[in-house]
Structure formats: structure tokens, C-alpha cells
Symmetry: C2
Subunit: 217 residues, 2 copies
């Protein structure tokens, strides 16, 4: 690992240019910063991170094309020594855990200022972990958890189930979904029921609200 004393090359990944531009400007003032790259979606972030000489990635979680979680996994798979700080709008326990599980070294909230960003950057470059106090205090975060899901005692949704949820949210009936996915109506119905049972929800309306709150749509 590079020492913190030599210039640190940074990749900023966020679909909102105003934010990448803003963070760039914040970082440019620091003497220890080397080259700054920016990416506007997860896929671009992975490409740049693998192709260029990057020391630390500041990664937004919600991005088009490929989300931050997936991007973190791929980067860490190829270049585990690259440090990654996840940045998000909300501090949802399950999201935080998933990001850490995926290999993120730090996790900060967008409502924390530049001072904290720099603190986080310093820590992760030294090989430490950094999590915003707001997040680690309020939420039950297990840094060493093997199984992310166990944290909340919830059974995870399967990919198929999430697919079904999206159709439900779009207002499709079981019949329509069955047609689109070449399934029998009863199968779709079973998925729907299993989903409601897993999430302990009463009906599809509540499910869509849950999905919206958990960024499943």
C-alpha cells in the first residue's frame, strides 16, 4: 500500500456532475491529492478504477447503469488494495452493512461536510475503516458480520422476487406478470405471497411503499 505521504489519486463516482465537480474542488485544495478522475455511473467507475492508477474511490451508492454496491464488489475483486469510501444520501443499516460486506473501507453521509470527507480519506488511506458517527451511533453496524442479512433477522429477497416486486409496483396484476415472464399465474401469486410473508407486509400497496423506501424500484 502506498504511504499517505505521496500524492493520492482519487476517483469520484457520482451520477450528479455537480457533486463530482464539487468534491473535486474540495479535494483540489489538499496538497496530498494527486490526480482526480470522475465517473458518472458504476460501470464507468469500474473501468476507470481498473485501468488507471487509483488509490481511493469515493463512490455514490445510487447510480444508473451499475449501482455502487456492484461497482465496489468488482473493484475490490480485481484490486483489493484500492480503498473505497461509500457516500450515500440516507443511512440505512442494511445498505451500510452490504457496502461494508462488499469491501468498502469507509461510509459517509452526504450531509456530512468536507472536513469529515477528508478525515475519512486520511483514515482509509492509512488502512483503517471509517464510518460516519451519525451512522455508527444510530444504527447497529457489525463490521465483522459474515452474513449481512442476519443483522436484521430478515430473510433476504431472491432476485426473482425483486423482479416480481418491480412488476407489482408498476401496477401489473399476477396475470400480466405471468404473461410477461412466461410463468403460470399461480407461480407469480406464490412469489407475491412469499414476499409479503418474508417482509411481514399485509398487501401489495404496503409492499410498494417498502420497495420505494428500500430503493428496490
Amino acid at each position: 500500500m502506498k504511504s499517505y505521504q505521496v500524492p493520492v489519486n482519487i476517483l469520484i463516482a457520482d451520477d450528479h456532475r455537480l457533486i463530482t465537480d464539487g468534491i473535486s474542488k474540495i479535494l483540489e485544495e489538499e496538497k496530498i491529492i494527486g490526480k482526480i478522475h470522475t465517473a458518472n455511473d458504476g460501470s464507468e467507475a469500474v473501468n476507470i478504477a481498473l485501468a488507471e492508477d487509483i488509490d481511493c474511490v469515493i463512490m455514490d451508492i445510487n447510480m444508473p447503469v451499475m449501482n455502487g454496491l456492484e461497482a465496489v464488489k468488482r473493484i475490490k475483486q480485481e484490486k483489493p488494495y484500492v480503498k473505497i469510501i461509500a457516500v450515500s444520501m440516507h443511512s440505512d443499516a442494511s445498505v451500510v452493512n452490504k457496502m461494508l460486506k462488499a469491501g468498502a473501507d469507509g461510509y459517509i453521509n452526504k450531509d456530512t461536510g468536507k472536513t469529515e470527507l477528508l478525515t475519512a480519506l486520511g483514515k482509509v488511506m492509512r488502512g483503517e475503516k471509517y464510518i460516519s458517527p451519525e451512522i455508527s451511533n444510530n444504527l447497529f453496524v457489525h463490521l465483522n458480520d459474515r452474513n449481512v442479512q442476519s443483522t436484521e433477522g430478515e430473510k433476504p429477497l431472491t432476485p426473482r422476487e425483486i423482479e416480481i416486486i418491480r412488476y407489482i409496483a408498476d401496477g401489473h396484476t399476477n396475470q400480466e406478470i405471468a404473461q410477461k415472464l412466461f410463468l403460470s399465474v399461480v407461480t407469480v401469486d406464490t412469489h407475491r405471497k412469499n414476499i409479503l410473508a418474508k417482509l411481514q407486509l399485509k398487501n401489495s400497496a404496503a409492499l410498494v411503499k417498502y420497495a420505494a423506501e428500500h430503493k428496490l424500484l
Copy 2:
């Protein structure tokens, strides 16, 4: 109105500090910028805008305590000469129209870079309007519309209807809602049907998605 040649005092309102910090840094490089203030919610933005000598407010739409729309209205009511640029994550036609109706002078998306921010700032300070090309091209925006609703040919939801929507999103059935609101089941059902008809939605699941997207929950 002040000329664009003298220092322009800016207020940046956004609940995410990283963004206010970032925009500050972007603006600080410009010679024409005077004092920069920041606010982290709508209420704070209104207070600062009314108390300080502000020429232009860069206002995020989604903020806690008081949202951007309300803040724009209040500022324009007291100090109509203060220019306001709305900044948002998504480019939703109805939101854009509401902001313009409320008095915003510009509307840009967070995924547009600093160049566009500066262009917008220049334009609104000269008394012109500025709307991101992405937004004005893709969406049908009427700058001179009196009635915002008419833009999309949509009938507005009544307060009672919005109340019903919230209960639906929480997974309550017509019966339960009727009990809670001391109504007959058929009345709740009528409201539900009227809502679906107004919004041209097929079922409650789609309604909840709509509600989530339009920040009704």
C-alpha cells in the same frame, strides 16, 4: 437590480453538506462572487435570505423542515428581486412547473456540471430565465402558465384524497381506513376509485409507487 459586474452574494441551500461545500468551492473560484452563505434546510434558507443581503439563492428542492418549493414562495414574497435557481435530482415536469410558478428564475439538474451552474447564474442575474436543456427539451414546460395543473391536464388531488393515499400506502384496507376515519367503507372505496381515475392508474400498488415518486408519503 444589481448589475452583474459587482460581487454577487450567494446563498446555497441543500441539506447535504457535501453539496453545499462543493458548490461553495466551485463558486469561490469565480471573481464575480461575493459572500457565500449556506443553509441546510428550507426554513434556514428563508431566514438567511430575508436577513442577509443575498442576490441569488441556489436552492435544492428536497429538503427537510421546509421544502424548496415553500422556501422559494416565501423568499419571493418578501424579496421578489432575489434570484432563485432551483436544483433537483430528477427532472419531473410537474415539479419543474411548480417551482417556476412559485417564482424560481432557473432550474438545473444535479447531473449537470459546474459550467452549467455558472451559465445559469449569469443568466438569472441578468434577469433572464434559465432551464437546463435536458429538462426543457424532454419535458413540456410552459414558462407562462398561470395554472400549473393545466400543464399536464391533470386534476389535482384533494386533501382528503391524499389522506386516503397515505393510509393505502401503509397497507390498510378500505375497511380499516373507514374505521379510522369514521367513514363508511363505500366512501373510502369511492375516494380510492376517484384517485385511480384521476391519476389514470390501474391499482393501489401503482398508486403507491406514484405517491412515492411524487413525495406524497
